[in-house]
Assembly symmetry: C2
Homo-oligomer: 221 residues x 2
DNA sequence: TTCTCTATGTGATTTTTATCACAGACAAAC
DNA sequence: GTTTGTCTGTGATAAAAATCACATAGAGAA
């Protein structure tokens, strides 16, 4: 059972649930479990079965593929209100995850048991539409990502990544490499190039974009 | 309106439609259009709006991302009974395609108008389950593909590709390159290596795998 | 047969990315 | 202040993939 503060947060981030009849909503909340996970927690991992469907309330989760040699690549990021479509996939079809989910910051979430998720999906059209639209968005994102990994050079992808983050950017070169699926040294060198061009200013765990237009041009080349 | 042979094919490949009440099925068929597309037809392309939802009856469609310099990469292949999940995505959310669909062989399909598709999706649970499971499968495939493109060497991916095709393989090196997102010369050289190891036998437009185990080992390295 | 078109083979070179091996730099803890 | 740990810079080298430039070869058409 959820406390009323959590309930409010839930309905705020997942407004489609408001359209549920009161009795169904109550039943849903009765089954749900609130959880808090500290930053860095591995929420789920490859080849594990799914436990339940997470509705994210705060924080964010990175969904990554890890390679044997320690490199990793971020597939996408899940924010509050976005839920985790990978889990839907798990719950609906195959029984296992095909990627790893890591809490990026401290995370609050509400977990729906598989049955409750299925019920909701089959009986509640707004929720269903919501899940479909998430699926659709992820599919698009992933196709974009495949294309970028296959055809773009790392400097272009790095430029795009820098532009996608709030300026100034607080992160390490290693974290950027992990997001791009590359290694720290390369990212450092590319950033140095950008800095020499006067496009960014570098500091420890900080990157300030000063010429977004140039980065954009490079990324779209 | 569809002729009875087409109807039969349709129900054979999409058995979940049999569970529709007769009246709804009739309405659906009345709205649907049968189409035949010769091999090589661009069924849809990037940045085009969707016309309708295709239910594939025969042939297959390659879904590819094309790069500016002419290179391309196959995202997945749609076979009869599989429909095209990318179109679902288009019809449900965003209005535009994010990839290209090309008929690989001659294709027969039945096209559902967007409204009929939405109706079917919201009113008919078996069809919905089917679409969800397709989404889920594609998502998994794409995650696998991203990971392969990011972390595997081309020889590994080529080996896996050869194993995934019926033996002996009738294709050109260029077609393989297009499937992998690489270029012809590299594929030729890698194939030559495989041949020197005694793993395959090469002919014009033909590759015979003679040591599947070795290829498998390489691909799983 | 000869011509033509497409498919394949291949060397040379370049570009891009990864790997290895440290050195210096900064921040927080002691 | 010194120590410790993380973060960053960087040269040297290697590995992988792409590009360029042709050569050859087979299959079908004229």
């Amino acid at each position: 059972m959820l406390d009323s503060k959590t309930q409010n947060l839930l309905l705020q981030h997942y407004p489609m649930l408001r359209e549920l009849p009161a009795s169904q909503l109550d039943a849903l909340l009765a089954n749900a479990t609130a959880m808090r996970l500290p930053a860095g927690t591995v929420v789920f991992d490859e080849n594990q079965p799914c436990q339940g469907f997470p509705l994210l309330l705060s924080g964010s989760i990175r969904i990554v593929k890890a390679a044997a040699n320690g490199r990793e690549l971020q597939l996408y990021r899940v924010s509050p209100g976005e839920s985790c479509i990978l889990t839907s996939s798990c719950l609906l079809g195959h029984a296992q995850y095909h990627a790893r989910g890591v809490a990026e910051q401290d995370v609050e979430l509400v977990a729906l048991p598989p049955l409750a998720f299925r019920m909701l999906l089959s009986s509640h059209e707004p929720f269903r539409d919501y899940i479909f639209s998430l699926f659709s968005e992820r599919l698009t994102d992933l196709m974009q990502l495949v294309s970028a990994v296959a055809f773009q050079k790392l400097d272009q992808r790095l430029a795009a990544l820098l532009l996608a983050k709030p300026n100034p950017i607080q992160t390490t070169h290693q974290a950027l490499a992990d997001e791009l699926g590359s290694v720290r040294e390369i990212v450092s060198r590319l950033l140095k190039n950008f800095a020499e061009q006067g496009w960014v200013k570098l500091g420890r765990e900080q990157i300030e974009v000063v010429n977004a237009a140039a980065l954009k041009k490079l990324s779209e080349l």
